[in-house]
């Protein structure tokens, strides 16, 4: 198994993001301990992706700071950050004839100067990253001919090739089938890195994450262990669904079942 970097503490401090006059993220503070895996959940448009974008420097917070082991990431160079924090995004390479190998090898670029080629170590790292994601037989295949799930796994492999201690994942289980959803998240856990994962599936979040942070309309409305956070009241409030939360008898993990009856009465405001 690959040796990742030393897990760092990721600390978001009073993050506000205002874009075009709209507040997308409002006063979010979140401290993630080294090696902790935190799920970021919430309805569409809650600000999950925007918050994550401030972690990998795609979006400068309007106010607030993002600290990695106490160091402000906006005071680092892009390369310095890319050696310490890797991101798995929903953005996939364009329709050019890149091989899976080429795409994963991009993960080595934060360590490379101009004119520097891949050495044997890089090749080992690039080839071992897909192995853990069950795509290494595809190394020479053209990336754009893969299925959605395979592409997603290659992008996770690219982040692994960065050998960072911290990972930010924006819906990494999108397009993945059941088995690969579990494999991907189990892998993130096993790496021992600090990780923030935006997820839609609350049961996956409960099964694999130490803590769940619920965003709604740009604010953190709840954060804590899955058992504490996933309650019918909160789900009704945030998602406007009627849900039942049970604890699995063997694993002790809370499980959310949405009742098909429709919205709960009472807080039926249609704000999104």
């Amino acid at each position: 198994m690959s040796t990742m970097g030393t897990p760092a503490e990721l600390h978001a401090e009073g993050i506000h993001v205002v874009v075009g006059g709209r507040s997308l993220v409002r006063d979010v503070s979140l401290r993630i301990a080294p090696g902790e895996v935190v799920a970021l959940v919430g309805p569409n448009g809650a600000g999950k992706s925007t918050l994550l974008r401030t972690f990998y420097r795609a979006q400068r917070p309007t106010s607030g700071r993002v600290l990695l082991d106490g160091a402000d990431i906006w005071r680092m160079t892009g390369r310095q950050l890319a050696r310490r924090l890797a991101a798995v995004l929903q953005e996939a390479p364009a329709e050019f004839e890149l091989t899976v190998y080429d795409v994963v090898a991009m993960g080595r670029s934060p360590y490379k100067r101009a004119f520097q080629g891949d050495d044997a170590d890089d090749r080992d790292i690039v080839m071992s990253a897909p192995e853990s994601l069950d795509v290494n037989h595809l190394a020479q295949a053209p990336f754009d001919r893969l299925s959605g799930g395979e592409k997603q796994r290659v992008l996770i492999a690219r982040a692994l090739a960065q050998r960072t201690g911290t990972m930010v994942l924006d819906e990494p289980t999108n397009h993945l089938d059941l088995r690969h959803q579990f494999d991907a998240l189990r892998l993130v856990r096993r790496l021992g890195v600090t990780a923030v994962v935006a997820l839609h599936d609350l049961n996956l979040a409960a099964a694999f994450c130490d803590r769940i942070c619920v965003l709604n309309a740009g604010r953190v409305v709840a954060a804590g262990s899955p058992t504490k956070v996933l309650t019918p009241t909160l789900l009704a409030e945030v998602y406007q669904v009627d849900a039942e939360v049970t604890v699995h008898p063997c694993t002790g993990i809370p499980q959310v079942s949405v009742l098909p009856g429709g919205r709960s009465e009472g807080d039926g405001s249609t704000s999104t």
Binding site: L89, F96, F115, M127, E131, D134, Q140
Partner: protein, 359 residues
């Protein structure tokens, strides 16, 4: 692991970064041979036809007199050295430069349908060049013309880029429409400047900038574009990793440590410099920068580290042959080379567009 995994016959998990195609060194060797063969033909064929052996004899003799004993009339040596070699060399330089710029532009806009002429960059350079010619500017000596062409190319490129991006995502349609519209306006400006200059001589040389042409190339025309293309290709090769990252998308590239804005600005300048240096001597030659990168990616993949040297060689060979055709088809008259490349490139472009629409 379902449907896609089955279609390529589960290749063994081998290391290395090559595709299961023709080995890369072989591709490069074959392309180099193609350039040499094209150059030999380009030097040998013309109003006076020379046997290929004599071409090499003259070249080797010039390299070092002891290598080959001269058995040819002196006038032939003059034809080869003063007329044909500079022209063939310039063709190679222009072909390589346009192809390399095409590839860089395609990475820049993340779209394989980019080309210096389709994006209006060449026409921008033409306007710069025509301005210098019509108003007899000579602010920077022999560099005035290429610098003016560079300025025109740079402004056109920046304009088209931001027009195509206005309001969010850059789609192929927006990109091509902005490029073509800007290019049309700029060529209209260049034509207007020439027509109103009231000098019949200028009309002739202006035609060269509109349609492309390499007739009457002398040695002193070769150096500036040759230097720009060599240096530019070298620099692009050095940044092949960041070029690859651009293909990954803007945010992904940034998350992988690339300062996207700075890199893109540097690429604007670099591409405009190369295109400016080329257009100042050859005029607008279209579609070379579109076709060559596409062929090369089919051969060696899109990784710029491998694709850039290959595309430079292929572009050089292609343009030498195209120029040979341009001056042979209706000899002793010449067809502007841009007409030939458009005849080949237009249909290619349409085919590429159809294929992409279908895929």
């Amino acid at each position: 692991m379902t449907r896609v995994a089955e279609s390529p016959p589960a290749a063994p998990p081998v290391g290395g970064d090559r595709r299961a195609r023709v080995p890369y060194p072989l591709v490069l060797t074959l392309l180099a041979v193609a350039v040499a063969a094209a150059a030999t033909a380009g030097i040998a064929i013309g109003s006076v036809r020379l046997p290929p052996g004599e071409v090499w004899g003259i070249l080797l003799h010039r390299l070092h007199p002891a290598l080959v004993e001269p058995t040819w009339p002196r006038v032939r040596e003059t034809i080869v050295m003063d007329v044909r070699v500079p022209r063939v060399l310039l063709c190679a330089v222009v072909g390589a430069g346009l192809s390399v710029c095409g590839m860089a532009l395609q990475a820049l806009v993340r779209n394989p349908l980019a080309d210096p002429m389709l994006l209006g960059v060449s026409q921008g350079a033409s306007v710069g060049a025509v301005l210098v010619m019509v108003f007899h500017l000579s602010l920077a000596g022999i560099f005035t013309l290429p610098l003016a062409a560079f300025a025109g190319a740079f402004l056109a490129l920046v304009l088209v880029y931001f027009l195509a991006r206005a309001g969010g995502r850059m789609t192929t349609v927006r990109l091509v429409l902005s490029g073509v519209a800007t290019g049309e306006v700029l060529s209209a400006v260049a034509s207007y400047l020439v027509v109103t200059s009231g000098d019949p001589h200028k009309t002739e040389s202006a035609l060269r900038w509109m349609l492309g042409g390499l007739a009457g190339t002398t040695w002193d025309l070769v150096w500036i574009p040759a230097g720009a293309v060599l240096l530019g290709t070298f620099v692009l090769l050095g940044v092949s990793r960041p070029l690859n990252l651009l293909l990954a998308g803007e945010e992904a590239a940034a998350s992988l440590g690339l300062n996207v804005h700075r890199f893109r600005a540097a690429l604007f300048v670099l591409v405009a410099l190369i295109v400016g240096a080329i257009v100042a001597v050859s005029g607008s030659i279209g579609f070379v920068g579109l076709m060559m990168p596409h062929v090369v990616r089919l051969l060696v993949g899109a990784n710029h580290r491998r694709a850039l040297p290959a595309v430079a060689l292929l572009g050089a060979a292609f343009l030498i042959v195209a120029d040979l055709a341009a001056r042979s088809v209706i000899a002793p008259e010449e067809i502007p080379i841009g007409i030939l490349t458009a005849l080949a490139g237009g249909p290619f472009f349409l085919w590429l567009m159809r294929r992409r629409a279908a895929g």
